[in-house]
């Protein structure tokens, strides 16, 4: 291993002969000239010195009547001096620097963050369709243009930002976590029940409520109509107003819960044998020497590194290791308690999901059962839920919907 710091600093090894070498050393010491690696071999002394301090030795050599000879020169300064006439060497340095600069002009890496529903491949496809690909000029990349294209292509993206650093672009995406995109609130609509149950709570802001608290509702029933009838004094309809109905509604309903797991399940029993395959990937050129026999069944864990210069200059060279862990497929049966734990967890997960959507759980009556080859978890969940949706294809209030 070359010590880079000492290589830059350099050193000179000097052979010393003379009547009083100790005096020479002590005078150097008194003049604060640092000597090191002092050796005594067969009547001659050798020592090393920093090249900068070499000329300070001259008067001391004269004073003590010693004789010196430079044995070895080591360091960057001497190296450059030695190869000063080697034009190709200098040209090589220049070409290397130029090549590195040339590499920085291209796009080598595309990173994506924040996308869950939209896969990396989907984004890559859009990029490729818009002529954004690895190896293109960084200058040609218009971040705002990419952002616009991505927003147009995917409705679920609520926010997107493209950042170009070095030879890499990073696409930050924020997706819409709502199930549906809310339509404009001023569009005419009805509010319709999405489940069977009993209306538990209703506050109408706009529209005509057709049901009141305690009424039975069926799936698809209009709860709040978007049509407001205008009556005259004799209670005949003289006009109809179409509005976007808006209300807070809770419906008490029973949900049929049904979950099951198979009694017999497969799992991987790792044998502990691990095989490591190292690989290098340069552009599309892939080298991965594999030694020995392959395992019959194995999991692969790949650790990939991309070579980069500095913090953000990514080069198209990947290297890494693939760890193949051998396993044997085993089958086993769940016991009643194990199955109970899993099914209970599933149920809790389901109930938590409901709670996050604003559903109150009033009660639950779920029982565990066992059939031929599976454990079941069935029953009813009594809950109060905002189970309604807006229907924009509006019916008539007179019942001809």
């Amino acid at each position: 291993v070359i010590d880079f710091k000492s290589f830059v600093k350099g050193k000179i090894v000097i052979k010393l002969t003379g009547p009083t070498p100790e005096r020479f050393f002590n005078i150097c010491f008194a003049n604060k000239i640092d000597l090191y690696d002092i050796k005594y071999i067969d009547g001659t002394y050798y020592f090393a010195i920093n090249p900068k301090e070499y000329y300070d030795l001259k008067p001391i050599i004269k004073k003590t009547g010693s004789k010196t000879k430079i044995v070895k020169k080591y360091g960057l300064v001497f190296y450059m001096f030695k190869y000063r006439k080697h034009n190709c060497f200098a040209a090589g340095i220049l070409i290397a620097a130029f090549l590195i600069y040339l590499m920085t002009l291209f796009l080598w890496d595309i990173q994506m963050e924040g996308n869950y529903m939209i896969t990396n491949d989907m984004i890559m496809e859009v990029l490729n369709n818009n002529a954004i690909h690895h190896g293109m000029f960084m200058k040609q990349i218009d971040c705002e243009e990419i952002e616009k294209k991505l927003r147009n292509e995917f409705d679920d993206i609520t926010w997107v930002s493209v950042e170009a650093t070095g030879s890499q672009i990073t696409i930050y995406v924020k997706e819409n976590d709502e199930d549906y995109v809310l339509k404009k609130s001023d569009e005419v609509c009805d509010i319709v029940s999405t489940c069977d149950g009993i209306l538990d709570y209703i506050i109408t802001r706009t529209g005509t409520p057709l049901k009141s608290v305690g009424d039975e509702v069926k799936e698809g029933d209009i709860i709040v109509s978007g049509i407001i009838n205008v009556y005259d004094d004799y209670e005949t309809i003289i006009d109809k107003k179409y509005v976007a109905s808006d209300a807070d509604i809770l419906i008490r309903t029973e949900y049929e819960y049904d979950d099951s797991i198979k009694i017999r399940y497969k799992y991987k029993l790792f044998t502990g044998k691990v095989k490591k395959n190292y690989y290098i990937n340069f552009f599309d050129f892939y080298i991965c020497p594999v030694f020995g026999k392959k395992f019959e069944k194995y999991d692969i864990i790949t650790t990939d590194h991309q070579i980069k210069l500095g913090s953000s200059l990514y080069l198209p060279i990947h290297y890494g290791v693939k760890e193949n862990s051998e396993y044997i497929e085993q089958t086993a049966d769940y016991t009643q308690t194990q199955a109970n734990i899993i099914l209970e967890e599933n149920l809790n997960f389901f109930l938590n999901g409901l709670s996050e959507k604003g559903v109150q759980i009033v009660g639950k009556d779920v029982k565990m059962g066992k059939s031929l080859n599976k454990y079941t978890y069935t029953g009813k969940i009594d809950m109060i839920a905002p189970a309604y949706e807006k229907v924009y294809d509006i019916g008539d209030l007179d019942g001809n919907n």
Partner: protein
């Protein structure tokens, strides 16, 4: 660095670091004599080698066989 006396660190039988030393009296590959603050220190051994010395300390390595102190009379 303690002013009044030298600090001598001996690591095993192959390294010695002397702080607050004055001068090298003599140096051969089997014997080094160093003047410290108020004493002479002589190291006998083989393949003795001065790794570095500066105005604070001296480091000597090699196979030491004997280390001898000689307190200055004055």
């Amino acid at each position: 660095v303690v002013k009044s006396s030298s600090i001598i660190n001996i690591l095993g039988n192959n390294t010695i670091i002397i702080e607050n030393f004055k001068t090298i009296m003599s140096y051969k590959s089997d014997k080094i004599k160093v003047k410290a603050k108020d004493k002479y220190l002589t190291i006998y051994g083989s393949k003795l080698f001065i790794e570095y010395y500066n105005n604070e300390e001296i480091k000597i390595t090699g196979r030491f066989e004997q280390i001898q102190f000689e307190v200055l009379s004055d």
